[in-house]
């Protein structure tokens, strides 16, 4: 009964195919697998978190992107989704959560507050989480609609799929972490 035309099946990466074998590069296989099995860690502190609840629920159905399983332990998570205003006192907590995540890890900054401080140009609020941890994708909006959050995750998926297996050992990446004083 299901309308199979609406379901997108991931295409196999480019490679050599013959009777009984298929050869391609490991990067592409790993990228494909990782992209479709992200475990997000929701770090939701305010209204963007409410939008995320809607994103997870049936209408928008975040599970379609292989991110069905939310990880509430940073050690098992691949993607840190920061949604909401981060007070300066919350900053060290967020940073600790990020440090506890295992490589490879990605960060999605959802909404104006997480990205820049938003309307809270004020002494107690961290003016963007990129002051303390590196961010891969920013989602604008106050708060962003679930479609926008999903687009942010799709952009993360593109990064995940195309990431070289050597990236996390590259000197550029180490310099990036060092610029945040991590490790």
């Amino acid at each position: 009964m299901t309308d199979t035309n609406k379901v997108t099946i991931e295409k196999a990466p480019a490679g050599f195919e013959g009777p009984g074998f298929f050869a391609t590069s490991l990067d592409k296989v790993v990228g494909l697998a990782r992209k479709n099995s992200l475990w997000p860690l929701p770090f939701a502190t305010s209204c963007c978190g409410i939008e995320f609840m809607s994103t997870m629920a049936s209408t928008y159905d975040f599970a379609r992107f292989g991110a069905e399983r939310l990880s509430f332990s940073p050690r098992q998570a691949d993607l840190l989704m920061v949604m909401g205003t981060i007070a300066k006192k919350m900053g060290p907590v967020l940073r600790q959560v990020y440090e506890q995540m295992a490589e490879p890890r990605w960060v999605l900054s959802v909404g104006a507050c997480a990205s820049s401080g938003g309307i809270f140009d004020s002494y107690p609020v961290l003016q963007g989480i990129d002051k303390i941890i590196p961010v891969d994708v920013y989602v604008p909006g106050c708060p962003p609609r679930p479609e926008q959050i999903i687009e942010g995750v799709i952009n993360i998926q593109q990064l995940v799929q195309n990431e070289s297996l050597r990236r996390r050992n590259a000197p550029e990446y180490k310099a990036l972490l060092a610029s945040y004083g991590i490790e």
Binding site: K88, K89, G91, S116, G117, D121, S122, Y123, P124, V125, Q127, K131
Partner: protein, 180 residues
């Protein structure tokens, strides 16, 4: 026991602490006594212990900054007599740039966190406070954000151009303000 009126409280304080009440006014159906700073602790202790009044609940306390006043800093205390359901408010002013008030902790334990809050936001010191450190803001904050001489905006903000928000035109340069 008869319910004390505001007049009873005024008379008792005038008899017991002559000259301690500087002024009295009515704000939002609330009687506000402005008292001399030196009498603060003794008045609180008296109102707490006195059988007629029994002001045993410190509802709230906070700091205030009136930047254009000759006595710019104030503490406000709101007391409640639960037995009589009577409330009064005290204000006490300081002309000093680095004001020090008596801590009310010997009378009201609840004053502990309230005084820490006043220290956190206004930099007031409280004589006799056992643990006067920041309570709400980050511990490494190096200024007192509710004092009017400091900008309310955060200085690490990069995406806002002051010329676009009408701040520079009025001579409001927050980076410069912070350096002073």
């Amino acid at each position: 026991m008869e319910r004390p009126t505001i007049g009873d409280i005024r008379d008792a304080l005038n008899a017991k602490f002559s000259g301690a009440i500087v002024s009295e006014e009515e704000q939002y159906d609330f009687t506000v006594f402005t008292i001399r700073k030196e009498s603060l602790l003794e008045i609180a202790r008296y109102l707490y212990n006195d059988e007629q009044f029994q002001f045993r609940y410190l509802t709230t306390a906070c700091g205030i900054h009136y930047p254009s006043s000759p006595e710019p800093f104030a503490m406000m205390y709101q007391l409640h007599s639960l037995v009589h359901n009577v409330r009064i408010r005290f204000k006490t002013y300081s002309a000093s740039k680095d004001p020090e008030f008596d801590s009310l902790i010997p009378v009201f334990s609840a004053a502990n966190w309230m005084e820490r809050e006043a220290y956190d936001f206004y930099g007031f010191r409280f004589k006799g406070h056992p643990n006067l450190k920041r309570i709400l803001n980050v511990e490494d904050m190096d200024y007192f954000p509710m004092r009017k001489e400091y900008p309310v905006e955060d200085l690490t903000r990069e995406d806002k151009d002051d010329t676009m928000f009408g701040r520079e035109a009025s001579g409001y340069d927050r980076k410069k303000l912070m350096k002073e």
